[in-house]
């Protein structure tokens, strides 16, 4: 299964990916209209320290701790992808606590969100990957899932 991987060597810390991610969720055609004056809540984040930066998003673990820990069954593994059903999420944040990568976070309206590889919103390639100017995030097949 194709997943998102980072090549931190090429990450510039420009954070375009975060903005493309946030934009992808809005359903708008124009980023300026969608995001002007807003605080964004992307489903992935750039971690940065000492001149090194890279994008952190859901690893879609085979044995996903978040899925195991979710008290309402809002998190599921569908075709190898960890998905969230926001209608079932009660905002208890258990998944946030157990995710070893910090890849689940809460939205402005209390329920959780996470990277779902843009399966709903785009044509094949996740928005962050398409928006990255330097090939620092890629969407590819890299053998067996861990």
């Amino acid at each position: 299964m194709k997943k998102i991987y980072v090549n931190e060597q090429w990450c510039l810390g420009c954070r375009l990916c975060e903005y493309y991610c946030a934009f992808a969720g809005t359903g708008e055609r124009d980023m300026a209209r969608a995001l002007a004056g807003m605080k964004i809540h992307p489903r992935m984040r750039i971690e940065e320290k000492d001149g090194i930066s890279f994008a952190v998003s859901c690893r879609h673990c085979k044995d996903a701790l978040c899925v195991k820990s979710c008290i309402t069954g809002a998190l599921t593994v569908t075709d190898g992808m960890v998905a969230i059903d926001q209608d079932r999420c009660v905002g208890c944040c258990t998944c946030v606590l157990v995710c070893p990568f910090g890849a689940v976070a809460s939205t402005a309206h209390g329920v959780m969100q996470k990277c779902e590889l843009c399966v709903q919103s785009s044509a094949g390639t996740p928005a962050c990957v398409r928006g990255c100017p330097n090939g620092a995030i890629v969407f590819e097949e890299r053998g067996a899932a861990r």
Binding site: L12, C14, R15, A36, N134
Partner: protein, 501 residues
């Protein structure tokens, strides 16, 4: 601090309706033009620091930015232009020589734009390159004068060493030091994939790039940096750099602050020491001296590699080229006055040298007249900007062209002409790790390959239109060219007729 007499040249215009305060521009501008004011939740900028490199414009996700001329003007004066006045003020302020980068931007004629190509109609068929065979390959080196035979009458292969290329374009000399490791890697990988050559420039060859040897020209310049026998033997050809179009008659200077780590090792000079390339080679004061170096280099490499001698196009270029063609060199490279540089004195860049089109036409003619054209191949550079320039150069007599600026533009260069400041926002002319990583060679080499493939298609289209099916038949075929808006003397030097004739 006294009065600042110079008003910023550019203005950074931000469309507030489109700006989403993402701060990408702030993070990407190494000149620190943009700044986010958190207390006002808004972006501001300091136009005075902007060099107009377009990094922020290209990366802004909402197209909220553009750079425009600031429009501020002194009292209009055709003699004292804004630029002339500002340069004078700058020198009165600093007392220093003005430094620039890239090629001459002044309004001298561009002869390529005054030359038109021919096409076949009715009486001679044009060729469709998609359906019929068309040869874009070229081979550079001296051609043997005589056929030699052994005692049994069989022909002896007496062909001197050649460079063979998939198309008549190569990447010109740009040293590791003047451009980044990633820029070099992009050029080397692209050259390999395309079946052409790139050129190390005078900074030696980084050990990682020996694997691209078959696609490398190794340069020997007046500073002799990084030259040793393994280096000379690692490439497909050796180039002796006598001059450069952006700075004919002067040497080079890479400041000690840039001589760090791998660059110091590759150049074989101590960290922090200035890398000074003298104006002349101190062992070359005549064609005879040049001949000695040519043959020293041939000896070191077992006479297996062609030797290129690169000169700047200057007034006496024909006589100099004639001498070089008799020096044992296999190839002459001529660099026109528009050629680029990572740092050059402004006055030299803008006032010294001659256009490559004129230099090429007159050198080709002189070598033919003297019957020594086959002694050497001719490479020309100094602002080859498109496939049409390549076709015109070949028709004027070139065997191949060098591109430097065009190649860097494929990698991101926006011609801001501030290479000498060392803070290239595109990761090309800089050694700062935070900036060099902006050029990912996976992307860079792909863009170079794209550019060259596009040019190759266009070259074939243009040749096909003229009914020519190989570069070899286009070479020196000046009947395919016509001048437009040129005077008698210019037409005479170019060896072409006027349009309509």
């Amino acid at each position: 601090m006294g009065i600042n007499w110079i008003y910023p040249e550019h203005e950074v215009v931000r469309n507030r309706d489109r700006c989403i305060n993402c701060r990408v521009c702030e993070r990407q501008c190494a000149n620190e033009v943009h700044e986010y004011l958190s207390e006002h939740d808004k972006m501001v900028c300091d136009d005075a620091k902007c060099v107009n490199c377009h990094r922020c414009v290209s990366l802004c996700p909402t197209r909220a930015l553009k750079i425009i001329p600031s429009g501020n003007t002194y009292r209009p004066n055709s003699n004292w232009t804004n630029r002339t006045i500002n340069e004078l003020y700058r020198q009165a302020d600093t007392g220093g020589v003005l430094l620039s980068s890239m090629g001459c931007p002044q309004r001298y004629p561009v002869y390529f734009e005054k030359i038109l190509l021919n096409a076949s109609q009715v009486t001679n068929p044009s060729i469709d390159p998609l359906r019929e065979p068309m040869e874009s390959k070229v081979s550079l080196g001296a051609r043997p004068r005589d056929i030699q035979r052994d005692e049994n009458g069989r022909m002896i292969n007496n062909l001197p060493p050649q460079i063979s290329l998939s198309m008549p374009v190569m990447f010109s000399a740009m040293s590791y030091g003047s451009i980044s490791y990633n820029a070099h890697e992009s050029l080397a990988r692209a050259a390999q994939e395309l079946g052409i050559l790139y050129n190390t420039g005078e900074g030696g060859l980084h050990e990682d790039f020996y694997e691209y040897g078959a696609n490398t020209i190794v340069q020997v310049a007046s500073g002799r940096f990084g030259v040793h026998s393994a280096y000379l033997n690692s490439g497909a050809a050796i180039e002796i750099k006598m001059g450069q179009g952006a700075k004919p008659g002067i040497g080079g200077h890479l400041p000690g602050t840039k001589i760090v780590g791998d660059i110091s090792r590759t150049r074989m000079i101590p960290e922090g020491s200035d890398a000074i390339s003298p104006a002349p080679h101190h062992d070359i004061y005549s064609i005879e001296d040049l001949r000695q170096l040519v043959y020293s280099l041939k000896t070191v490499t077992g006479h297996k590699k062609p030797v290129i001698v690169k000169i700047a196009a200057v007034h006496n270029v024909t006589a100099i080229a004639s001498g070089i063609a008799r020096s044992g060199a296999d190839i002459i490279a001529i660099d026109g006055f528009r050629g680029g540089s990572g740092a050059t004195p402004t006055r030299i860049r803008d006032n010294v040298g001659i256009p490559i089109e004129l230099a090429l036409a007159s050198v080709d003619q002189r070598l033919r007249d003297e019957g020594i054209r086959d002694n050497v191949s001719i490479i020309v550079g100094g602002s080859i900007r498109s496939s049409a320039d390549v076709v015109k150069a070949v028709a004027l007599g070139a065997d191949c062209v060098y591109i430097g600026t065009s190649a860097l533009m494929a990698l991101g260069c926006h011609l801001c002409r501030s290479c000498h400041a060392g803070k290239c926002n595109w990761g090309i002319a800089t050694q700062e790790p935070q900036l060099t990583r902006r050029l990912n060679p996976d992307i860079g080499h792909r863009r170079l390959v794209n550019l060259m493939n596009a040019w190759r298609h266009e070259i074939k289209e243009m040749m096909g239109g003229m009914g020519i099916n190989s570069i070899e038949s286009l070479k020196g075929n000046r009947s395919m060219l016509r001048g437009i808006g040129l005077n008698e003397k210019e037409l005479e030097i170019l060896g072409i007729r006027h349009a309509g004739e």
